[in-house]
Symmetry: D2
Subunit: 306 residues, 4 copies
């Protein structure tokens, strides 16, 4: 912070960032009659030498957020969208290297998947939106080092058996009965950090990496006989670390989507793990980081706000 801009007031500026959020860009690539779609929601966040705009309102260092929006659309044409991560790398590099006051750029991207509608016609330009999860990518660049964190949210999974919960601490407020066969369901929010950090190294294959991590995550969820949601979380993270060399850190936020076995005895019926009430609130919330041994944690602790 330059001395000349410090106000004669007790309140000083700390970390700050700005940009245009939620730029919805759809890119159609035409391979003859066969079209391909990339559908992104891109948020730009810039920081650097920005004291004056806060203290006096001078915009002399400020590239307008409207310009960052324009850049997103222009780059979709200039570079195409090979992957969300690659697209974010183009954008982050541009902002940091083209504007002297901007020292750091962070690009956050949501990606929505589309599935082809099979038809008898010759063309292939019809799509139905997949709704299973939203893919995420965050690219941060300071002019020297890259940090890429990818992830997903809203992936809802359920095991209808092979889950127990017992042997826990009991205090004076404990009323929960132990469970030896319960439904385990959660809505996965996950982030994973790549160890690719410099231009000199070869980039991961971002598309393949996502597909493989999603597969390992689902299979770890399905294969784990679970004594606690924490155990399942660790297995999901460990499976990714063990199979994907490009990833050093994984963090999950897993709401325990409670499915309560309904008491049907008042109606003379036996509920043999058949009929459940799916509850909304409150819910258990299990969050943890799984690290490659020896690596440092860098993904923020709170993926959600609660």
């Amino acid at each position: 912070m330059a001395d000349h801009s410090h106000p004669a007031r007790p309140a000083v500026l700390g970390q700050n960032q700005y940009g245009k959020a939620e730029n919805r860009v759809v890119k159609i690539t035409r391979d003859g009659a066969t079209h391909h779609v990339k559908d992104l929601n891109v948020s730009v966040s810039l920081s650097g030498d920005m004291e004056e705009v806060h203290y006096s309102g001078s915009n002399a260092h400020v590239l307008p957020t409207d310009t960052t929006k324009n850049t997103v659309y222009a780059f979709a044409k200039e570079y195409g969208i090979e992957s969300a991560e690659q697209f974010g790398i183009h954008l982050a590099r541009h902002f940091v290297t083209s504007q002297e006051p901007i020292r750091r750029a962070r690009i956050r991207i949501e990606e929505y998947a589309w599935q082809r509608i099979e038809t008898s016609g010759e063309g292939a330009h019809s799509f139905v939106r997949e709704g299973r999860e939203t893919r995420l990518a965050q690219i941060t660049y300071d002019g020297g080092t890259w940090e890429v964190v990818s992830g997903l949210k809203d992936l809802v999974v359920m095991n209808s058996t092979d889950s127990e919960f017992w042997g826990y601490v009991k205090d004076k407020y404990t009323t929960l009965p132990e469970a030896h066969d319960r439904i385990l369901a959660t809505e996965v929010s996950g982030r994973w950090r790549f160890n690719w950090t410099e231009d000199a190294r070869e980039m991961p294959d971002w598309e393949k990496s996502y597909e493989q991590i999603r597969k390992h995550l689902l299979q770890a969820f399905a294969d784990t006989y679970s004594l606690s949601l924490q155990q399942t979380l660790y297995e999901m993270g460990a499976r990714i670390i063990e199979h994907r060399d490009e990833v050093d850190e994984v963090r999950f936020s897993l709401p325990n989507k409670h499915h309560f076995l309904v008491d049907l005895e008042p109606f003379g019926l036996k509920n043999d793990n058949e009929v459940y009430l799916a509850a909304d609130r409150p819910y258990g919330l299990i969050e943890a980081t799984v690290l490659r041994d020896g690596c440092e944690a860098r993904i923020p602790v709170d993926l959600t706000n609660l």
Copy 2:
């Protein structure tokens, strides 16, 4: 309305209905190590001889909404959930035939689909929630006649070409340029009414009917070279009427999810139908009923509130 209950006031009771809404019931069926899931959100709405509870607060004719909730869970055990429609039929029949003051029951159901997670293990009890659309069913019964309306919502589809819009009326407020190659995208909300109305006739195969209607709807969307979203809507409805004898009426509410071609000329770039901005609001909203010739329309006009 019984005379004795008419208040000595200028305000009289009109149509009324009550019940428990959004009962979330999950039913697991175990076929050895292979499990099956039905995941429903069930809303019960009852009407009948209910003047007194409004005029004086007497609950003598009121089956509590809490009881209607209990009935949903008990019936999931007693009858299972073969299909949303069949489950709703059991419930509606019960309320109308077991309580004299209740003359009409309407059951509304949302169904969420789950896909099996493939694993190397022997069991088959792991699932990931499909997010593409929500399946809908509404069953109404008055003790004599059935009305079954099924449908879906949140099915997002896109054609990246084969859509035009021109030749429209131009008044003093018209500025829109004509389009000869545009993206056509919508989020389908649809309802279709079955001509099955009485117990004496054989019921449709509800599961197969849904699957086939969804297929015809998607293919009509994909196959239609569109000069207006209205034309596409009619084709989607007509295709269902023509292929599915069990359906007499279809209604769609189709928001035109505008994808605007971004002007890249200020940046010296040509946008050859490649880069689009996906807009939120405002949006065109196209709604219409398609009927089997000679049949009466019974599905309400407004599927959404706008």
Copy 3:
């Protein structure tokens, strides 16, 4: 429907309507340094002679939805926004009288209220958005007769006592204990229909009418010692009918926002109507129309979708 447009297919067109939904218009009126705000969300829906656009895709009768959007913004300048109802009347009259194929227009408006921020400065141009409820207006015109239905949604109210629920029907699925002092809470969705229908009669004062109806509705909720939510609903409607001559019909959709008394006995504590769990789903849903004696019901039965 003109014969020439009937397709040689078993599927025929039924009711249809189209327009631009959710046009967000903010109008600032400057009275010297004192500014006034009107903040609306306007949805236009038109119908008429529209067979061809469905059957063949000909847009010869179609005023583009983009034009209807432009008209909303132009009319905010040309007529100002005195009230949502008056603004909708200008729009509906324009569409029906200026385009021959358009026979009916329906304008739906949401209005968001803003409160002035008091400052020591001279100007009065700072506002904080009130969030208590959304005001609604629907104006329908067919070239001869007007129908105006106003209303509100998302008005959450609670009585912390003076509510009971007992004396109800008990069947084999009933487990609910009777309650002699409970919380009664709901999120009011209401609509009221005006008896003003023709230009020759003087219009109601729309702004005053809304303010008075809101006041009567709240006071009826607060004053009623309630034996059922149905009784409270009727009192709210009857109070409006009795005090506001301009209204002939009221309909409410009232979710019973359950507040369950928490059982604290396992912890050695007595819960003397002090600590409640506010539940989300399921919820009771109570819906009814209250009419001025002798008047016809015209407001659709389902204000919400469940």
Copy 4:
């Protein structure tokens, strides 16, 4: 992390926390016929010696999330709810001091305000929910030091004049025209950290502090002639630091809710800063911390996810 629990795998556990989220508790306090309401959404998050539950599924150190829920409701009776902050302090202290493996507790609370409905009756037990903003509190305790961060979200404010934006950087992607009289509107999300950290010091008056900070925040927004949203943000933070000794740090996340002046010239109309289109996405997003000089920043950078 104890050696014995380290798995013979490359993946190790990092930061982790768990608890029950979104416990909805409503507390009624009866002062004769006058009732008072506190309406909270409480989320508990605990951490400590939790390796085994992740590595092996042993729950020997795990107090169930269901117990943390019960504790919330029991404490509402045992301690009452004087303020969200005080309530969170009771809860955090309990979890850390009563369970040896739990070393840190974080309580997050949302509070919803209710306004009394004035009636002619004697009682005062009727309320309408205020919707203007949600009040927030976060209390963290590690057995020695307290951290209290309060805040709010969803507070929407607008200045209809006294805002400009010009003098910014222009690159090849810049098309935005400069503005010398624009609407400035935002939806304030703010957090402020108290310098109260130890039991030995007297606590702030949490209720009065909130009320005063909200007032200063609104007046700073209203009084600032704004050359950039960053300048307004800094003024809002500085005003709080200058007037409220109990606060050392403020962070804001301010979406620039764009109100675009509509071009009415195609319709022969002049738009003299009267008619605006309120846009949804994309939006500028301005975020910054304002600190008391010499104090350290501790509030996380990202209050929202974009």
